[in-house]
């Protein structure tokens, strides 16, 4: 287990890469929520096929997932709780990114960069869930658990 899971490391620590990524995910969620609103700019055109309610739901979903992920990387007294929070966030985020990628691919199948980015985020979620599970098993083993 890296010290990242204890949170509160220096700025050069790899956990900050995750925090920046999760922060961006939250910002994407905010932009998706705002996409239907009359703004002077268009944050995303790719979700036009979705009804406004579902678009707002997807945006909130992404915000919620990213918030869970971010919260999980904070300093917790119980590391098991931090893992659970981050993994819950990752599950929500992975579902959100999968839905997002599908909606974009449906509307613009040739825009591979647009939906490929969401697929890459989905892959990040899957890998991170796997890494956290492995780390948890290793920690339980080191603590002498089953």
């Amino acid at each position: 287990m890296s010290a990242a899971d204890a949170g509160g490391e220096g700025l050069l620590h790899p956990v900050w890469v995750l925090r920046i990524l999760y922060g961006w995910w939250a910002l994407v969620g905010v932009q998706v929520v705002l996409a239907g609103a009359p703004l002077p700019w268009e944050p995303t055109l790719a979700l036009m096929d979705l009804p406004d309610e579902l678009q707002v739901t997807l945006g909130c979903w992404l915000i919620l997932g990213a918030a869970g992920c971010l919260l999980g990387t904070a300093r917790w007294r119980l590391i098991s709780k931090a893992w659970a929070v981050e993994r819950t966030g990752l599950w929500l985020s992975s579902a959100g990114w999968a839905a997002y990628a599908l909606a974009v691919a449906q509307e613009y199948p040739a825009a591979t960069v647009s939906w490929g980015t969401q697929v890459a985020y989905l892959a990040v979620c899957v890998v991170r869930i796997h890494v956290l599970a492995r780390r948890e098993r290793a920690t339980i083993r080191a603590l002498g658990g089953a």
Partner: protein
Amino acid sequence: MTLSPEQLVAIVIALLSGGAIGGVREWIKDRRRQPIDTSAALVAMAQSAGAQALAVTDQLQEEVTRLRGEQAQDRVATCSLRNRVGVLETELRGWGRWYAWLADAWPQIRLRPVAPEPPVSQMMPASQSILEP
């Protein structure tokens, strides 16, 4: 493949529901498990890493010991070979000198009724061949 808006909405809702179920499952799993204290986990992992490092060190130590043994054997073999090469060089020089003398004195020697003695060999008897270790 083109989906109708209704199908797309249904799939999106299904995906989001799947994510929600996954998230809830994580919470349930966490509630069933024994909580792990952060500092205890860090100490345990540090100890585990230390034990692993010690195991690697032990393995390396064994390897160094084995290599040292092999090196000592090689050194003995090299000394033995050097000795045998020295004996062969001496022998070769003896034969070289004897041949030079024979060639110089050949006109007289060929007329002798008795053949000259061969050079004195530095080598061990044939039963203890220096060519074999």
